[in-house]
Amino acid sequence: MTTDLNHILIFKTNIRTKTQKRKLLGMLSTHSGIQQCSVDLSDIDRVLRIVSACLTHQQIISILQQQGFDCAELV
């Protein structure tokens, strides 16, 4: 099944380490509104990619901020 491109949300973050990435993805993957999530630590923008049919950019930003990370929509 191909992903609806409109359900893909892209963010710039300050996730730095593999441990931070693992913990965050562990938490996000249990969220019922998130179908897929990944973080690219090799990129300068530490890009967080979320596939969700129902969540907004702002809702994801709030979740990240609650976990102590900076997060902004990457445009």
Partner: protein
């Protein structure tokens, strides 16, 4: 509303191969690729999860395309000389028209990405090529020999000519350009050496 733009996806693939060959896997970044394609980094991440996902998917797509070209009109039941001639034609056509991709596959061979990519290449080629060799042995056209010996005689001469061509020089550093005439001259010698 976002929609797929196949022209943009094609440009991303082409530029990614160019940058990967030029800068290697370490020097390659999604930011550099986005700049080269004049698109935003976010757009790249719409299509690919991360750098590794991009490299593997582009390599797998190319491996699939290469297989289709190399196996075009080929059938493992073919007469040995006719089949090998077709293989030389298809392989040289692909490599000469896609120098970037050939260089990318060489880089992949020694990288952490080699396993998934070459597993696919092996699955695509292994059957047809293995059968072709076995048929030639059972028909008495060639002697039985280890696969490595077979490959080194049947294909390595062509790959070496193409390497000289892509480097633009021969083993002594003199300028070299590969022609069809040279390919078929080498092929005739190869056939003489391998056929009973």
């Amino acid at each position: 509303m976002r929609t797929r733009n196949s022209g943009k996806e094609q440009l991303v693939k082409q530029k990614a191969i160019e940058l990967l060959v030029r800068d290697g896997f370490e020097g390659f970044s999604m930011n550099k690729l986005a700049r080269a394609c004049d698109i935003s980094v976010a757009t790249l991440y719409i299509y690919y999860k991360d750098k590794d996902d991009l490299i593997i998917r582009i390599a797998l797509e190319e491996a699939e395309r290469m297989t289709q070209i190399v196996l075009k009109d080929f059938n493992p039941e073919m007469d040995f000389e006719e089949g090998l001639r077709l293989q030389w034609k298809n392989r040289s056509d692909y490599m000469l028209k896609n120098p970037g991709t050939s260089a990318l596959f060489e880089q992949l061979r020694f990288s952490t990405f080699s396993e998934p990519v070459f597993k696919q290449v092996k699955a695509n080629f292994g059957n047809a090529m293995g059968k072709f060799m076995k048929n030639a042995v059972s028909r008495g056209e060639i002697n039985a020999m280890p696969m490595e010996v077979y490959w080194s005689v049947a294909f390595a001469p062509l790959y070496n000519l193409i390497r000289f061509h892509q480097e633009g020089k021969n083993m002594a550093g003199k300028p070299f350009v590969l022609t069809r005439k040279l390919i078929w001259q080498t092929f005739d010698l190869t056939i003489k050496g391998i056929k009973k």
